[in-house]
Symmetry: C2
């Protein structure tokens, strides 16, 4: 059995953050496929009782520990491997600030928008889609401005906050209906920098469940 | 000048978390009123350049430090005052897990729902309102179940995660159009426990801007 197990599926940018981190730090890990789409597995009482009461992926198992929320998993892994860590309290708090912003406002809304646009049995309501995209683009503009000042969110080197930011940003433009990289050039340059890190992989190459079974 | 300054306004449950914490730990603090509604102050270039590039409240000033994101402010204050802290890494990560969930899924959606329902020049789109309320209620159900097992989110004593959870939950039921306390009894009992802590105050008694000027 691998040292780390990650409950995930290929279409989840939240799970991707942790899968990417596991690759970037060189962890011994294996995925546990969660059948989110066909089986609604995260909504079952069994999953909520035995895996995650929040009904979400990712879940990271390490020995007796079971961690959830990607930002928590990233923090844990950065400490264990001594990579992508922040230095001192000011940097620690700054990285957390961007991770919370990212979870709520950037990838939080962007991931939900993509879900409503692509993966519902019937297309999502246009007003809801417009709301979600508007919020996500507002957050993308904030981050694009930030990344015009330094190569990574809190300065010259990548930290947990940068791995978090990757979330949904490498998924194909057609899934969003607009080209994030073309609209937000500093975000695009950042994504290329992250892509150049040893161990980087695309979410569809890293987690099970893609392409989707018909 | 007070030791701590909090950029806030009475209707912001995100700012309330930090204002409440400042009261609960007995800090020397004063509010800085942010004219969110009439002046759109958080959207101005001046605010984004000089106060918070994320265009949000709360912002906590302490000496040369300027902290944003309520969960970061709560963590900082808990360390400075040695109150509402977690013990050890497992508790630390567990509290963070609930704060991120709260920010994205519970108070994140609930606060946006309340904003769309009450504070827009024209009422928010019904489909968007239904989406936001549905998400918020899903998260409330998760937390209600959790709080059926222990008096506070991570056990027997209140921590930063519990102060965060208070967010929008004390605002009047008519602002939501449904009674949170009546629907989620364990959440209701939790809110009474928090209310009993020395220093507790209602958001409308703690921050400037209420009642709103016509």
């Amino acid at each position: 059995m691998a040292e780390y197990e990650l409950y995930c599926f290929a279409q989840s940018g939240n799970a991707y953050r942790v899968a990417l981190m596991l690759e970037l730090v060189g962890a011994d890990w294996s995925p546990v496929f969660v059948d989110f789409f066909k089986g609604g597995e995260t909504r079952t009482p069994k999953y909520r009782e035995e895996v995650n009461e929040m009904g979400e992926v990712p879940v990271l198992r390490h020995g007796a520990r079971r961690l959830t929320q990607s930002s928590v998993c990233l923090t844990y892994l950065s400490r264990r491997f001594g990579k992508f860590q922040t230095q001192g309290e000011d940097e620690e708090l700054e990285a957390w600030r961007w991770m919370v912003f990212d979870n709520q406002k950037l990838n939080g809304f962007l991931g939900t928008y993509r879900f409503f646009r692509n993966f519902l049995p019937t297309p999502g309501d246009p007003a809801v889609l417009a709301f979600l995209r508007g919020r996500a683009e507002g957050a993308l503009a904030v981050v694009d401005k930030r990344l015009g000042k330094a190569p990574f969110l809190i300065g010259e080197r990548p930290t947990v906050a940068d791995v978090s930011l990757c979330g949904y940003l490498y998924y194909p433009a057609e899934e969003f209906g607009f080209d994030i990289a073309a609209t937000y050039p500093n975000v695009a340059a950042f994504l290329e920098r992250m892509k150049a890190l040893p161990g980087w992989k695309h979410p569809y190459d890293l987690m099970p469940g893609w392409p989707m079974a018909k």
